[in-house]
Subunit: 432 residues, 2 copies
């Protein structure tokens, strides 16, 4: 068996959107051990979609005689330019059949949002005769699972990435497993680091980067560095036995820069440490404007340790709600160590939490000066012991507003994480 | 002329990297007015690369008899799996020729970094005989510009996005302009809507969706619906003349659902309306945890109208900082109309702004009940006239925590935007 990914959408040919679906599906096929030699992108045009199908089918027969899986994304919407199912039916010479259960499903989804189904949505209930429905829990566009002829299987998904991914996990993966795929699959653990450059970590971990099994590969984005440890194995247990000792050594190499694996984030790592210590946190945000709170509350259950915060975007709010000293504000400016410290102490005392964490800085693009350039960010931290600290950061060089704000919030979380982690390690040592 | 993009690289088939090169080239081709109907991704395998070339050349001849441009990215590096130039030479039956000037260029670049050229880099100086060198200012891998036969032009670029983009701008664009492209380029305006489903808007705008010039295409993601109006024209002025009347009619169709064009966001639209009215805003966030504040402060200069807010994730903060009535909290629960109203009124009065906007809801995945399911979100709005309103929303069906939070923040912004917009329209009518 081999697969070809065919992404349908004129918006891809115009460069309006990035083809994240192709990457997701490519990773999934690799994990399941299904070979995949080509990807095709084609617009919302029946003749060209047919040509893409024709080419893909001819490719298979030149590869081997086993089943060919064509995986389509896009072109399942309600508008006239959504043509994937229609064109597939036409290509294989079968009529479209209306599925009453799809109309009912769409009607129900619209009703739940207090809306009425549009007549054009009926189009989404028309599938090639003989195709099975791939339900779409998150949207109105169902996909299909169809074997139009021997040796050819077709899977279709909507172009909306969240819907496509959910449908893939819930329906395509179980189906491909019944065909025998996914016996040996690729397991991996991604170790995550903050506070160390990719090159520096790669040098420290150089001996691991040429391992044949498991393989170790570095990645970096937006300040976070990752090492992915991968192995092909028949069971999670076997994989874990191979991955675990390598992961442990890489964690030791990363030391306090290592903050977690896989789904762990800086916010969830902070959450675990606070939960373990029975402590609580509040935040005072200026240039991040709520981004730090949003990261913390991305984590379900974060209300156990995160009580809330104050977005003190305007200086009046810093004074009136957080109790920042107006004289210090005018003498040192809103972006200063002393104001960061007073914001952290103020929010901690106002909200009654164990910790208060603050951010004040210049995110740009305007507002920078020679002495306070864009990217200058102070982070304040007030703790249970009454101690208040601040940290000066320079995040500006070559970074835009969004990235400066993102890195500011991550760095604030990381500062608290390091402090909690170091304390936990000292505590453990003290107890042993 | 038409173009096909062929991206070479096994890492794309494994999903290790996102194909940003395809998006960049697609945008560039669209802007130059060069039609482009297919993209192909293929691994580092000579037989399959040849098949991709074969298919692309056959596609052309089925389209028209004019020149076909094949644009390759990737496979130009020094390692044995980098095979693009070799395979192209082989496909068109010409030998490789060594370019002394490339070897000198690579030697110079290594020397500048205090390194010696590796023997494997010599491979990068071997290009198909007859091909012109596309210099790579940023790296060691040059590309080619080659007409191996009449009606076929080949451009190759390295896979590293920064190098590819620089080479494209410096060498490919001037070349394509000498061929007469770029005289007419594609201009577009994207109209953005909130509060109407894609299908419903497409039905209202049905008459426009089949226009030949300009073309109008609908898109939707995460609650936002867009109509892109595109036209091929020789100057921005001509384009604007064609786009403007259509855009105006589509705005009228969208009515209050239309919130802006192109780079406009709900937050920037709210910002403009507040600025025009000389008014200010504060927010009180529960389930969004700072996301609404973050959206507002994404906009540079938002401090003119956005003063800040309170993240009242814990009920104690709702009571102590926002002044929510504890009895109402226990009787009606934190997710209720009355609490949303008291949060909005509380933050408005606490921060002294014209408007107070609040969000309280159940973002899930846990915490839902039969009477208060995941996705139940109340939005509160307190205004200058002392009037406090609340709005009940059901965002749950099939949506995850992140999407519920995103749509909650957008909907809150949209409620205020509609109110301000409607008031502005009434004001204008009153003055005329």
């Amino acid at each position: 068996m081999s697969a070809e990914i065919i992404c349908v959408g004129t918006e891809l040919l115009l460069g309006d959107i990035l083809n994240t679906n192709a990457q997701f599906l490519a990773q999934q096929l690799a994990n399941l051990g299904i070979p995949h030699y080509y990807q095709t992108v084609v617009g919302d045009n029946p003749a060209r979609i047919k040509h893409a199908i024709q080419v893909a089918l001819e490719r298979t027969s030149t590869q081997d005689n086993s089943t060919q899986v064509l995986i389509f994304t896009g072109g399942l919407g309600p508008t006239p330019d959504d043509l994937t199912h229609e064109t597939l039916a036409d290509f294989f010479g079968v009529p479209l059949a209306e599925h009453q259960e799809i109309i009912e499903d769409i009607t129900r989804k619209y009703a739940a949002r207090g809306r009425k189904m549009s007549p054009s949505n009926r189009k989404q209930a028309l599938l090639p005769q003989g195709a099975a429905v791939l339900p779409n829990p998150g949207g109105t566009a169902p996909g299909i699972l169809w074997q139009p002829r021997s040796g050819v299987a077709i899977l279709t998904f909507p172009g909306v990435p969240s819907e496509m991914q959910q449908m893939w996990q819930e329906t395509a993966v179980p189906y491909l497993k019944t065909l025998g795929y996914g016996r040996e699959i690729i397991y991996s653990q991604t170790l995550k680091f903050w506070g160390i450059a990719e090159a520096a970590l790669a040098e420290k971990a150089a001996a691991f980067l040429n391992l044949p099994n498991p393989t170790v590969a570095p990645y970096a984005s937006q300040g976070e560095v990752k090492l992915r440890v991968s192995v092909k194995a028949t069971s999670p247990e076997t994989a874990q036995q191979i991955i675990a000792p390598v992961a442990r050594q890489l964690q030791e190499i990363g030391d306090l820069n290592y903050f977690g694996s896989d789904e762990e984030t800086l916010a969830s790592a902070v959450g675990k440490l606070l939960t373990a210590a029975g402590e609580t946190l509040s935040v005072a945000e200026s240039c991040t404007g709520g981004g730090l709170g949003q990261m913390l509350t991305d984590i379900p259950g974060s209300s156990r340790y995160f009580w809330g915060g104050v977005i003190s975007y305007d200086n009046a709010v810093k004074i009136s709600v957080l109790g920042v000293n107006p004289d210090d504000l005018s003498q040192f400016g809103a972006v200063s160590a002393i104001v960061a410290e007073q914001m952290a102490a103020g929010v901690r005392s106002r909200l009654g939490t164990t910790w208060g964490l603050s951010i004040t800085g210049i995110a740009g693009p305007d507002g920078g000066t020679a002495s306070k350039p864009v990217g200058l960010v102070y982070i304040g931290l007030a703790g249970a012991d009454g101690k208040v600290q601040s940290f000066e950061n320079h995040f500006g060089t070559g970074r835009d507003r969004a990235l400066i704000r993102h890195i500011s919030a991550c760095t604030a979380l990381d500062l608290l994480r390091r402090l909690l982690k170091a304390r936990e390690q000292r505590g453990e040592e003290g107890c042993s």
